[in-house]
């Protein structure tokens, strides 16, 4: 009998303790524990990737570090992928995701976003001199990554251009590196995603790859934040705006996308600043 009593008590205690462990509002928790958990990609050059010293670096990494510095907290880096970055925010596994994520309405229904911190657009990468416009890709295979806006956009584009097999002609891989390998194999005619990612990979082999056609879509990047926590969202937004106003943002930008880098991508827009 004694065993069962202890067993029942243990179960009850376990249930109570898990009940108490429900996450509070993110802002309070971060400020109390002095640690912010940031989800970042590992496969996006030059957004966030492992360099030849196996260090995790990139534009997104620097932005996240800077935001954390301005909040006065330490950073805990969490690896995430195209598919996990939203789930993690939803579940509260991370406090923000700086993971070249486009701000869309569908996504905004489940998580919140900061103001746009980077302006990108989708393009198609292909071998030099073989294709001139989007129409050339009709009936050809195109690589992209599962769970991205690029996947939806490229299917819509092919559909509009009159490709009857647009579902089969878009091959969705799990990671950027896999899509690029498929392109190098010649398995696909082009690889379509946000142009900075494409530039990052193309720069690894200069002169072999080019971007084809105009922007397929606008891709404003936002930092993914937990739903309904306006104190937390405000502090992130203010940190981003402060970075813009005192020039730190452009410093980081030029470090990764400036004219001297292999990933040159001119800054054409401005971060929204509230007076």
């Amino acid at each position: 009998m004694r065993f069962w009593k202890i067993f029942a008590l243990a179960i009850a205690a376990l249930m109570l303790s898990t009940q108490l462990a429900v996450a509070g509002p993110t802002y309070d928790r971060v400020m109390e524990s002095k640690v912010v958990r940031v989800g970042m990609m590992t496969d996006s050059i030059p957004g966030a990737f492992f360099n030849d010293k196996n260090e995790w670096v990139g534009f997104d990494v620097d932005i996240a570090e800077e935001v954390a510095k301005r909040l006065g907290v330490d950073i805990e880096r969490v690896q995430c992928t195209n598919r996990t970055r939203i789930t993690f925010v939803q579940q509260g596994r991370i406090d923000m995701s700086v993971a070249n994520m486009t701000h869309t309405r569908e996504r905004d229904r489940v998580i919140d976003f900061s103001i746009t911190y980077f302006f990108d657009g989708q393009k198609i990468l292909a071998p030099v001199g073989q294709y001139t416009s989007h129409e050339d890709f009709v009936g050809k295979k195109i690589a992209t990554m599962q769970g991205t806006t690029s996947e939806i956009n490229i299917k819509n584009l092919l559909k509009e251009l009159g490709d009857p097999n647009f579902e089969q002609n878009v091959i969705s891989f799990q990671k950027e590196s896999e899509a690029f390998q498929a392109l190098k194999l010649g398995r696909v005619a082009g690889w379509s995603t946000d142009s900075t990612i494409l530039l990052g990979y193309a720069a690894q082999e200069p002169g072999k790859w080019e971007l084809v056609g105009d922007f397929i879509s606008e891709e404003p990047y936002g930092i993914g934040l937990p739903e309904d926590d306006s104190a937390w969202r405000d502090s992130i937004n203010f940190a981003l705006q402060d970075m813009w106003m005192d020039g730190t943002y452009m410093e980081i930008y030029n470090k990764w996308y400036g004219p001297d880098t292999p990933y040159y991508f001119p800054m054409t827009d401005k971060i929204e600043v509230w007076p």
């Binding site: 898990t18 496969d43 598919r83 569908e106 590196s177 010649g186």
Partner: protein, 593 residues
């Protein structure tokens, strides 16, 4: 008093139901999820995309079924061919078969698929590549890759089945004047099939579950589609639950069929009139009938020659000539095979020689230990990763899962429903799903139930532990059932209780028999660590991908190297397992054909 009550069946069932209801009540009404459920995404038309996403799962199911069926057939063919090759006395054939079996059994399927898809086409000329790409390359790459993998397991099953036949039987049939094909058809294969079919069936089941890996090369199978629904609607919990249920019902129906076949095989006569036999006979009757008809036609075409003991001169010459031409034919085909074999080795050696080994040498440290000990503060184990991480994960998982397996295996055999039913459910639920689904569950959805988060390393290790626990439980059960029941009865009647009977009599004997199987499971789990890459654990496969991502132009070198690294580890363990097996069962003779 307590004992008498608890031994009643209805009390046990009642307790189970109460526990179940409490759990439902707790998670249904009391517990605050950090997540709002919305099951309707699975069966209503989604307003954003204008499609019913439930159909996605059905498309995925058809693709999974297609891959499973095609690869099963091809794998069976490969397995039979190389399984016979493992018994051949013609050395080059034996070597090729052994190399095939050992290599493909001892490297992870995931690495093989990456190799076939991303590295292999680099070796082909451009025209041939485009010719290949003209087909549905993703699908065929995954299917053939899966067949090659499963085939290597089937080859071993078939070899073991044929070897299990008594040598005397073979000698007797040879001395009664039957030729090779007759012996095979009439004596060996019918007996061997009986030994082969049960393990072969579980290979078919594994094959179905392994098809979930096709998603890494962009095939839209069931797992892929459930992930697609998640990424479109962010309803991962619902989508993965649906995929889990589909996989579970698929594997339960496959194992249902297998169990019926196994039960039928245990019957000795064909004319037993019970439902089971009738059902199976009805199902197999057309196949058996066509086979018999074809055999009759063939024996009609080539009638048994009735020749006297004394041959005329011409008859002798013809007979001699036919024997010699047959020998020459066999010799030529052997020479042909040997030439192809030598050429294959030459091509391989040339390929290996042209590799840029410097790159691998420079990055070997990264592959083995990642950035240990220069990790950042938020890295687990000071930035350890790569091969050592995989070993760490598998050793942790096997040690814990051994105890889980022991307890669950004993619980599964218990007469008390309170232990038996939950253990049974655990075993069937876990074994009915691919590991990748279990990893997703532990990583994404267990946190939903408990509102706590653990690092990727620990989630993957826990997933592997839970997964392996179910398999070890079955090994334990098999081991204990092999102990003659007289031992139980004797121990019980000398006054030992359940615990002491198990501890001193049954388990020591059973564990000794289980050791080879457990080492085999350890090899499997070590290979399965490669799957942890899907959630971003820094194990060997993931590190190799990072490396490949950075170096870009050496995929062949990198994938070959990690395949070799996995192979070395697994091969040494399998040699160990074979040694143990030999020592524990010394009276085995290699049957030669």
């Amino acid at each position: 008093m307590f004992k008498t009550w608890i031994s009643k069946n209805w009390v046990q069932n009642l307790i189970l139901i109460v526990i179940f209801l409490v759990a439902v009540y707790y998670w249904g009404y009391v517990f605050e999820f950090g997540y709002k459920f919305n099951w309707s995404v699975l069966y209503t038309v989604n307003p954003t995309y204008g499609e019913n996403l439930g159909f996605y799962l059905l498309y995925g199911l058809t693709v999974t079924l297609k891959i499973t069926l095609v690869s099963s057939v091809v794998a069976l063919a490969l397995g039979t061919f190389f399984g016979l090759g493992r018994l051949s006395t013609f050395k080059p054939f034996y070597w090729v078969s052994t190399a095939y079996v050992e290599f493909f059994r001892n490297t992870p399927l995931l690495v093989q698929l990456f190799f076939w898809y991303f590295a292999m086409p680099h070796a082909l000329p451009m025209e041939m590549r485009h010719w290949l790409f003209g087909f549905n390359y993703e699908f065929w790459c995954a299917t053939i890759g899966l067949s090659i993998y499963t085939g290597s397991f089937m080859a071993e099953v078939i070899r073991a089945g044929i070897q299990s036949i008594d040598k005397g039987l073979l000698e007797a049939s040879y001395s009664s004047g039957l030729n090779y094909f007759q012996i095979m058809r009439k004596i060996i294969l019918p007996l061997a099939f009986r030994a082969i079919i049960p393990p072969l069936g579980s290979e078919f089941l594994n094959n179905m579950k392994n098809s979930s890996l096709a998603m890494v090369v962009g095939v839209a199978d069931l797992t892929w589609q459930s992930q697609q629904i998640e990424s479109l609607t962010f309803r991962g919990f619902e989508a993965t639950t649906a995929a889990t249920i589909i996989y579970l019902s698929l594997s339960l129906s496959i194992s249902g069929i297998l169990n019926t076949i196994n039960a039928r095989l245990r019957r000795t006569t064909y004319h037993q009139k019970d439902i089971l036999s009738l059902g199976i006979n009805l199902f197999t009757w057309p196949l058996a009938k066509t086979y018999l008809v074809i055999e009759r036609i063939f024996s009609g075409l080539f009638p048994q020659k009735t020749e006297g003991l004394k041959l005329s001169r011409t008859q002798t010459i013809i007979k001699q000539a036919s024997i010699w031409s047959w020998r020459v034919l066999v010799f030529l085909s052997k020479v042909f095979f040997a030439v192809v074999f030598a050429y294959g080795i030459y091509i391989m050696a040339k390929g290996l020689y042209s590799y840029n080994w410097q790159v691998i040498w420079d990055n070997l440290r990264t592959l083995l230990i990642w950035r240990f000990p220069q990790g950042r503060v938020d890295d687990i184990f000071m930035g350890l990763g790569g091969l050592s991480f995989s070993i760490l994960m598998s050793v942790t998982a096997i040690s814990i899962s051994f105890f889980i397996g022991l307890i669950v295996g004993l619980g599964r055999m218990s007469k008390n429903n309170i232990f038996r039913i939950p253990c049974l459910m655990y075993i069937e639920f876990i074994r009915g799903n691919p590991l990748i689904i279990v990893i997703f569950w532990v990583y994404f959805f267990i946190p939903v139930f408990f509102n706590t988060f653990i690092s990727v390393f620990w989630s993957a290790t826990i997933a592997l532990t839970i997964f392996t626990g179910a398999y070890i439980a079955e090994i334990v059960r098999g081991g204990i059932q092999n102990i003659p029941s007289g031992q139980f009865e004797a121990a019980m009647s000398t006054g030992l209780g359940y615990y002491r009977t198990m501890r001193h009599i049954v388990l020591p004997q059973a564990l000794k028999q289980m050791i080879p199987a457990i080492v085999g499971q350890f090899i499997a789990i070590f290979k399965d660590t490669s799957l942890a890459f899907v959630i971003g654990v820094m194990e060997l496969t993931y590190v190799a991908q990072i490396l490949n991502n950075r170096l870009m132009i050496y995929p062949f070198e990198i994938y070959t190297t990690i395949a070799v690294l996995y192979f070395i580890c697994c091969y040494f363990m399998s040699i160990l397992a074979a040694r143990l097996e030999k020592r524990l069962t010394p009276d085995k003779i290699r049957l030669r054909m």
